[in-house]
């Protein structure tokens, strides 16, 4: 099976994640949408690895997973800190830095 359907699926998932980041208000859901985008790019990387016949794409996907894990840990800690001070996980509430 050619790689194109997989890449198209990955593009669709990436777009959905993108729209989610732009529209959702809850910081945790926004974070989940970022994870969805990372996962979509992983799918494309794995597909390219299969099409090209070498494992470099899979190694890249592996690195994306590692970075995503680190990112989630720090991001959720930030959300917890914001929630502790503002009692809300909405991205609209944390606008104090603006002023």
């Amino acid at each position: 099976m050619s790689g194109t359907p997989f890449v198209v699926l990955s593009a669709i998932l990436f777009t959905i994640g993108c729209v989610g980041v732009l529209t959702r208000r809850n910081a945790i859901v926004v974070f989940m949408c970022i994870e969805l985008m990372l996962n979509a790019s992983n799918l494309a990387l794995v597909t390219f690895a299969r099409v090209d016949g070498n494992l470099d794409g899979q190694v890249a996907a592996f690195f994306v997973m590692v970075v995503a894990a680190a990112e989630v840990v720090v991001g959720l800690a930030i959300i917890m800190t914001i929630f502790r001070t503002r009692r809300s996980a909405s991205v609209d509430e944390a606008s104090l830095l603006k002023y």
């Binding site: 890449v7 959905i16 729209v19 989610g20 690195f63 894990a69």
Partner: protein, 259 residues
């Protein structure tokens, strides 16, 4: 490639659900569906190592972390539907659709070429092949990720750390507090009654019944009272209880009459 055509509609539907789910917990579960389907697609594409890592790291660790934080933040914190910037949602949707159209059309235009397949690259086994790449060509990137992970762990500890402002209560302090409350207000110093005693269920949201059939308020967590999810005992339960525990001959009405 039956797996792809079965899983891709499920994945797209679950991902769309992520956009429309009002509750964050539902969004997390839908994301889990997407991730598990993705791992199967990795397996289909000759990536067994990534299949396992996807399930363990993403579905197992990262999503559980998400759910953990969701529970800490409060499950009831559902999304507000109020737009803070007017027309933002519409514009975001239009921009997203444009991006998706651009990507899909662009991918449709290019030809990825003939599929080489991984049978040669995976000849020594997928894990061995990946290890060979990781520890030769990508060894510096690999070392850098270890530094990144340590930085992330320390960063999370620093961010989540909170200085204690009041001294920690020891067990002796708590005992003294309880006895003081008993001396001053007559509060019972022993443990609170357990839920469900004499009631039909012993679930944590069912209050215990006192001998006269009234619920014991202290036997259920205060949270249930606040949320209003307490399951009161049915009238027949109360009648049965007063018949067996209280004076067998007197029911509630008779007692009322006596007074």
């Amino acid at each position: 490639m039956v797996a792809f055509w079965i899983l891709s509609p499920i994945m797209v539907a679950a991902a769309l659900g992520l956009l429309f789910a009002r509750k964050a917990v539902h969004a997390a579960l839908l994301l889990a569906v997407v991730m598990i389907c993705l791992s199967v697609l990795y397996l289909v594409q000759n990536a067994p190592f990534l299949f396992v890592v996807q399930i363990i790291v993403y579905t197992g660790a990262i999503l559980m972390l998400f759910l953990f934080v969701l529970m800490l933040v409060g499950v009831d914190a559902s999304d507000s539907v109020v737009e803070t910037i007017r027309g933002q949602r519409l514009m975001a949707t239009v921009a997203g659709l444009a991006l998706g159209l651009l990507l899909v059309l662009g991918i449709g235009q290019v030809s990825l070429g003939a599929v080489t397949g991984l049978s040669q690259a995976n000849a020594d086994g997928n894990v061995q092949g990946l290890a060979q790449l990781l520890f030769s060509r990508y060894v510096f990137a690999f070392e850098a990720t270890s530094a990144l992970l340590i930085t992330a762990a320390i960063g999370a500890m620093v961010l989540a750390h909170r200085e204690r402002l009041t001294p920690k209560l020891t067990q002796a302090d708590r005992a003294a507090q309880r006895m003081r409350a008993y001396a001053e207000h007559g509060t019972h110093p022993g443990p609170l009654p357990s839920p469900g005693v004499y009631a039909r269920h012993n679930a944590v949201d069912t209050p215990a019944l006192l001998p006269d059939g009234s619920p014991a308020e202290t036997s259920v967590s205060r949270m249930f009272t606040v949320r209003g999810t307490i399951r009161p005992a049915s009238a027949s339960d109360v009648r049965m209880l007063t018949a067996s525990v209280g004076d067998a001959a007197t029911t509630d009405q008779e007692r009322q009459g006596e007074r």
